[in-house]
Amino acid sequence: MHRPALPTDSPVPASAPASASTSASASAELPPVLLLHGLGSDHRLTFEATGWMRALHRAGRTLIAPDLPGHGAGRGPASHDPERYRVPRLVEEVCALLDRAAPGTAVDVVGYSLGARLAWELAARRPERVRAAVLAGFGPRAQAGAALVAQTASTLPGNDPQALAACVEGLAADPFSPEPAPRAPLLLAAGTRDELAEGMAELAAGLPDVRTLWIEGRNHVTAVSASRLKSAAVEFLASARPRPA
């Protein structure tokens, strides 16, 4: 079933699951999928142009696809204050979005690059919010490549180089830590030529419930559209069975 994206000022479509419903039919449905895009990108570039939203729509999934602060074209001036982009604050804002978009529901999450980092933090620190997650284009040392990614992305139309620089600085203030690790089932995936995913295998080795997927020949830019990654993610999220707490 296709669920076309609608403007935020539209009424909730009748086909959308009733919020906070606990009925048996609703609980049998798969939860919404939260899509968290990469640094210097937005939900369109990371998930729409690459076919992710199409693939998930076709799988019958409802999507929540925000643009992170400082990202996404046409939304007015972005903050140049690094504090605006601290990881805990971004995670908290994603939680606030979920409180409104999927109240009382543990969602599935797909994150790419920076989005995967945020998905990790969300799953680790707010486990009641995440049923299962796909973390792609990401490794424990991805932070080291953030400045270069932002520099490249700064030339994309609509991006604010100063906002991206502030974002990199803000993110650097919260270095990645493998502890605490998410308990939710995770799929870690990356291109074999993705330098930002370096260390992904060792990260996976320390996780309680994880699968890994390498996309042959793809790098940080090109792995995101890989059809093998999307199909693996759709299948993983459809079949994920979180362990009892």
Binding site: H2, R3, A5, L6, P7, T8, D9, V12, P13, A16, P32, S41, L45, A49, T50, G51, R54, A55, H57, T62, L63, I64, A65, P66, D67, P69, G72, G74, R75, G76, P77, S79, R84, P88, R89, V91, E93, A96, L97, R100, A101, A124, R125, R126, P127, E128, T152, A153, T155, L156, P157, P180, R218, V221, T222, V224, S225, A226, S227, A245
Partner: protein, 150 residues
Amino acid sequence: MRTFLLPDLGEGLVEATVLDWLVAVGDTVERGDPLVEVETAKSAVEIPSPWSGRVAELHAGTGARVEVGAALVTVAVTEAEAAGDAGTEPDAEPGLLPPPGADTDAGAGTDAPDASAAPAAAAPAPGIVGTVPRDEPPRRRVRLTPPREG
């Protein structure tokens, strides 16, 4: 037969490189089915089929560079679609091929300090695309340990 030309991918770029074909000559495709992944200088894009039909020819091999406006794929379109086509581009299927500029998120405000928070009525709801609110200060501290409830 209709030939699909590499569209402008919206980055001001004039060419793209074929990463992978997702169809082969002879395959039947529905409109909106993924056809090909291409790489531009800064991003990767999956291009869906604008028509239903049978793939007749791929005009560029994997790894080949294709200029915007150059032939990408030729499709023998199904009769019903060809008849109703009358020389115009078929409309994109809603939700599958949203036209550029038809934004799916209204935006929750600017990032200016002291801008008021997005009203609840504009809050993203399930099934739609929204934005993370820009200016709401965190209402509570981030938990540094997993919460106990649940």
